[in-house]
Symmetry: C2
Subunit: 560 residues, 2 copies
C-alpha cells in the first residue's frame, strides 16, 4: 500500500461532532488501492479483564477524487469519549493506522490510538438551522431602487442614465428596497444580504464613517426598522455587512490621529508604522486594507476598539433584530476578536447567521467558535471552471469533491454559495452573455449543499464587468427585463424549496461521465433522488440513466 | 511523483509564526523521490503592471522518517500577509502544488495559492522564555520529606517503613521540601512541579475538597509562601497542579448535590445523568473522570463554575507568585475554558508556564491560545521503545522524527519531557533495574528539545512499579542512595546548562546507523556541535565520527 497517501488528521474535515455523543470520522486512502477500511473504536476507560473494550465499524466509501478515496462513518460515544484507529485491508495486506503510525499487528497499547478525549456539546458546530433552507438575494443599496429622492446625494444622476463609475451616485436607498419586497417575495428568496448601509463616504460604503448610524442617503432608523419588519412579515431574513477590518478615512478616531498624531488618544486604534500619518504617496505609513490609504486597518486587539466594535455588533441585533452579519475581510482580523464577536452576538440572538468574507480555504474560522460559513468562492470557481473554462467534467468532479471534502458536511450545508457579487463580474458577462450557461450554473449552484445567493439583477439578465460594471442600477423597466431568466430562477427557487434533496451532501454522488462536456450527479433523501445532468456544449448529448425506479422519472422543470 | 503523499495543511506543524513578520513553512513529500522544493510567496496585494510580485525561496530538507521527507524554510512578510505555493521538481517533472491542488504550469490566478491572510502578533506562539532552559524536578509532597510531624495525619506510618499502598500516609509536607531546597539546588534543578497540594481526601490530592486551601497535612499559607520565596532565592521556579476536570467527592458543591439532588443550587456544576446521584454500583449515574465515582466531572461550561475555577487559577498566582500551572486531565475540559484560563493567568503574570496533562498528540491545545506545553509522554514512549523494547535505532529515529515534526519548533522547545512520573512505573523499574539504561535514557531525554524533568528519587536510584509503587518515600539515608546515579544526573544537568546545543531542534540531525542498537545524532548551535551516540546493548560497538573538526573533539563527560 502507498502508506504516504493514507491520511487522517483529527482536523474537522476528518473528525467532527454531530452531538456530544456522535462523531463523524473520515480517512483518505490513495485512490483505487482496492482497500476496505474498518474503524476500531471504544471508550478509553472501558476495560474488562485487562483488555480494552473496542468495537469495529466498517467505513463507507463516501467520495473519490483524482488522488484519494474518502471513507466515512459515524461513531457513537455513550460517554462522549473515544480512542480509535483504522484497519486498512487489501487482499494481500492488513495495516493498522493510529496516531503513532502504521502497524502490521493490531497495537495492544491504547496509547497508540487516536484520541477524542471528550466531546463537549458547546464544541459541536451549530449554525442556525434556517440557513440551509434559505435562498439569498444580494443587494447593493445604492443601485437597487431609489424609493425616496429626498435622500439623494447632491451629485445623484438619473437612475440608470449611464454606466456606473467608482464615484457616481444614483440615489438607491432602503425605501426603494421596501417598495420592492413584494417583487422579492414573488421571486421566492428568503434572505437579503445588504452590502454596508452605515454612514460612509463612497457609494459602496465599505469605508465607514459612523458604525452606529445609517447612511443618510439610504434612510434612517425608522426606514431600517420598517424594512426589517416588512421583510420578516414576508418570511425574508436580513443580513447586514460589518466592516471591522478597517475603518473609512473619515471615521472620527482616524481623523483624530491624522490631526493629532502622537497626541491622539486614538493612535493605538490603528497600526501606524510611524507618526504623523502620511496617507499620500505610493504606500501609506500605516497598515491598511491592501494598500488603500482610505481604509486604515483597525487594531482589533486593542481593548477599546474591541469594546466599540462589539457594541456595534450587538447594537444592530438588539435594536433592529437583524438575522445575520456578513463580515468584510474577515480573514485579516484576529481569531480572538471573532470568538468574542460570536459570543456576544449569539448570546443576544442565538440563530444569527455569521458569515465571513473569505475567498480561500477557511477551516480555521469554521470550527464552531467563530463563523457559521464563508462566502464560498472556491465553489464558484469550480462551477465556472467546468461551465466556462473548458475544464472537463471529470476535473470538475475532482475540484468539487476536493472542496466538499475539505469541510464537515455540517459546514457545507450552510455555506454561502454564489456565482457573482459586487466584487466580481456578473455571471452573464463572465459567461460571455450566454444565457443557457448562466442557467446551467445557477442550476448547479442550487443543487449543491449550502445556501445559494442571487446577485440583484442577475434574475432579469443584467450584465456587467467587475467593479464598477457589476454595480449598475437595477432595471425596473419590465420591457428591458429578461423575463425568461426571471421565470427560470423563480422556478429554480421553488424547486429547491419543494425538493429537500436539493443541497443534500453526503448523498451527493457523481456518476462517471465519458464526455468532458457532460457532468452528471445525483442527490437524494430517503424519499426522492434527483439526477442532475449538465451539458455545457452546443452539441446534443445523450446519457443513459440508471434503470432502477425508471417508472417514476419526472423532469422537474416540465413536471412530466 | 506520488502526489497522494505530498502534504501541506496550514496546520501549525506545517505553518507557524515566529513573529508577525516571519512564518515557518513546512511541507512533506514522499520519502526518497529525489525532489527539490521551492516556495513561491509574496504579499497578496503587491502587484505591478498586472502581475503578482512573488518571489521564490528554496526549501531545506529538514528531516526524514520512513514515509516522508520534511522540507522547511522561513519566509518574511513585510506587511504580515502572504500567498504561497510550492514548486516541486524531479529531474523529469515539475509540479506546482497549491490550495487548489496540483498544476503542471505555474497557476496565474492568485486565488489558487495558499493564503496566510494576516499574521497577528497576538497569535504568535509565545511560551515563557525561561522554560527551555529549565530542568524540572517532580515532587509528590506526601512522599518527599516529612519536615513537620505536627501536621501528620493520624494514620501516618513511619517514613519509608513499608511499601506505599493507595491509602497510606507517611507525613510528607511542604516543610520537608523547604528543608531540602539546598539539596535540590545542588542537584542543579531550576523548577519544581508539585502534584496537588490543595485540601483533598487522598494521599495524592487529586480529589480536591477545597481549591483555595492548602492541605493541612502539607502546611499552611505561610509554609507555601516561604517555600516559594526560598525556591525563588535559589533560582528555582514553582509549578502547582490544578485539577479542574473533576472535583473530589468531598468538594462542598458536590456534597450539596448528593444531599439535595434536584433542589441543590449546585446541580449544574456537574453532569448528572439523573438525580438523585448514585455514586455506588458499577458505574455512577453522573459523569466522572474515567468511571471513578469519587471524581465527579465539573461542568466547566457553567458560568459559576468557570468563575470559581478562574478565581482559583488567579488566586495562587496573585497571592503566592507561583510560576506555573500543570493542568490535570486537561484534554477533557473545553477549549473555551482554557482560553479564558490563559487570558486571566497571563494577564496577571505574563510568564507563567501553562502545562496540560495530555498523553496523546496535542495540537488543538498548542495553538498559542491555550497551553504552552503538554506532558510529553509520546517522547517517553519513543525513548523507551529504543532503549528497552528492542525497537531498532532506525525505528526510534522514525518515531522521534514523526513526533518532532508533528509540532512547530517553538512548541517542541518548551515541552515537558520526562521518563516517568507519579502515573507510571519508575524508569529504573521499567528498565529492569539496569542503571546503565536509565542513564542512557536520561541522557537522551536531556539532549532533546523541551525541558526535562526528573521524578523525585530517580536521581538516587529509587525503583517502583506504577501507582502505588512509584510513590514510595524519598530515601534520605545517604547510605541507601545511589551516589553514582546522583553524580551522573548532577553532571548531566550541569552539561545541559552549560551547552546550549543541548535541546536544539531544527539542528537535531540523525546519522544513519547500521546497527539497530546504536542511535547516533547531533545537535548544534553556531558555536558547537554535540554528538550523541547511544548503545543500548551489552556489546561494545564502534562508530566512525565525521572527520571535520576532529582536532577539537572533547568527551563531555570526561572533559577530555
Amino acid at each position: 500500500m502507498n502508506r504516504a497517501g493514507i491520511i487522517h488528521t483529527q482536523q474537522h474535515h476528518h473528525l467532527y461532532l454531530t452531538s456530544s455523543h456522535e462523531a463523524i470520522i473520515r480517512i483518505q486512502t490513495p485512490k483505487g488501492e482496492g482497500v476496505n477500511v474498518t474503524i476500531i473504536h471504544g471508550d478509553p476507560y472501558d476495560w474488562k479483564d485487562g483488555s480494552w473494550q473496542a468495537t469495529q465499524t466498517e467505513m463507507k466509501l463516501l467520495k473519490t477524487d483524482d488522488l484519494y478515496d474518502y471513507w466515512s462513518t459515524s461513531v457513537s460515544m455513550p460517554y462522549s469519549r473515544m480512542r480509535y484507529g483504522f484497519k486498512i485491508k487489501t487482499e494481500t495486506e492488513t495495516l493498522f493506522y493510529t496516531e503513532r503510525g502504521f502497524y502490521t499487528e493490531r497495537p495492544a497499547e491504547i496509547s497508540a490510538y487516536f484520541c477524542l478525549p471528550y466531546a463537549h456539546d458547546t464544541e459541536v458546530f451549530s449554525p442556525p438551522p434556517w440557513v440551509q433552507n434559505t435562498v439569498w438575494y444580494q443587494i447593493f443599496p445604492e443601485r437597487f431602487a431609489n424609493g425616496n429622492p429626498s435622500r439623494d446625494p447632491d451629485t445623484t444622476l438619473p437612475w440608470g442614465s449611464e454606466p456606473p463609475k467608482p464615484d457616481t451616485f444614483f440615489g438607491g436607498d432602503l425605501d426603494g428596497v421596501i417598495q420592492h419586497l413584494d417583487y422579492l417575495q414573488q421571486l421566492g428568496i428568503t434572505g437579503i444580504y445588504f452590502t454596508p448601509i452605515f454612514e460612509a463616504f463612497s457609494n459602496h460604503k465599505y469605508d465607514t464613517i459612523d458604525y452606529l448610524s445609517i447612511d443618510p442617503h439610504f434612510g434612517d432608523e425608522d426606514t431600517l426598522r420598517t424594512l426589517i419588519q416588512e421583510s420578516h412579515k414576508r418570511g425574508i431574513r436580513v443580513m447586514l455587512d460589518a466592516v471591522f477590518n478597517h475603518s473609512g478615512y473619515y471615521f472620527a478616531p482616524f481623523q483624530d490621529v491624522l490631526q493629532h498624531g502622537e497626541n491622539s488618544r486614538y493612535k493605538d486604534w490603528f497600526h501606524p508604522f510611524e507618526l504623523p500619518l502620511q496617507p499620500d504617496g505610493d504606500r501609506p505609513n500605516y497598515e491598511t486594507f491592501a494598500f488603500v490609504s482610505s481604509m486604515p486597518k483597525l487594531n482589533t486587539k486593542h481593548p477599546d476598539v474591541r469594546q466599540y466594535l462589539l457594541k456595534v455588533a450587538t447594537y444592530w441585533v438588539e435594536e433592529f433584530d437583524i438575522d445575520g452579519w456578513r463580515l468584510d475581510v474577515a480573514n485579516e482580523v484576529d481569531h480572538d476578536f471573532w470568538r468574542s464577536f460570536r459570543n456576544e452576538v449569539k448570546n443576544l440572538k442565538k440563530d444569527v447567521y455569521i458569515l465571513g468574507e473569505i475567498w480561500h480555504q477557511s477551516s480555521p474560522w469554521l470550527q464552531g467558535d467563530q463563523f457559521d460559513a464563508v462566502m464560498n468562492y472556491p465553489l464558484t470557481d469550480a462551477i465556472q471552471g467546468y461551465a466556462l473554462h473548458q475544464q472537463s467534467s471529470h476535473d470538475a468532479q475532482v475540484a468539487l469533491t476536493k472542496h466538499l471534502m475539505s469541510y464537515p458536511a455540517s459546514v457545507n450545508a450552510v455555506q454561502f454559495n454564489m456565482l457573482d457579487s459586487h466584487d466580481t463580474a456578473r455571471i452573464l458577462t463572465t459567461s460571455k452573455e450566454n444565457k443557457a450557461l448562466v442557467k446551467l450554473q445557477y442550476a448547479l449552484l442550487f443543487s449543491f449543499p449550502g445556501s445559494p445567493c442571487i446577485y440583484y439583477g442577475d434574475e432579469i439578465g443584467m450584465a456587467g464587468e467587475n467593479d464598477p460594471g457589476c454595480r449598475a442600477c437595477m432595471i425596473w423597466d419590465e420591457a428591458k427585463q429578461d423575463k425568461d431568466m426571471l421565470a427560470f430562477l423563480t422556478q429554480l427557487i421553488a424547486l429547491r424549496k419543494h425538493h429537500p434533496a436539493f443541497g443534500t451532501y453526503d448523498e451527493l454522488f457523481f456518476h462517471q461521465s465519458d464526455d468532458p462536456a457532460v457532468l452528471h450527479y445525483q442527490t437524494s433523501t430517503a424519499d426522492e433522488t434527483l439526477y442532475f445532468v449538465f451539458n455545457r456544449s452546443l452539441a446534443t448529448k445523450s446519457i443513459t440513466l440508471p434503470k432502477e425506479n425508471q417508472e417514476q422519472w419526472m423532469d422537474l422543470f416540465t413536471e412530466k
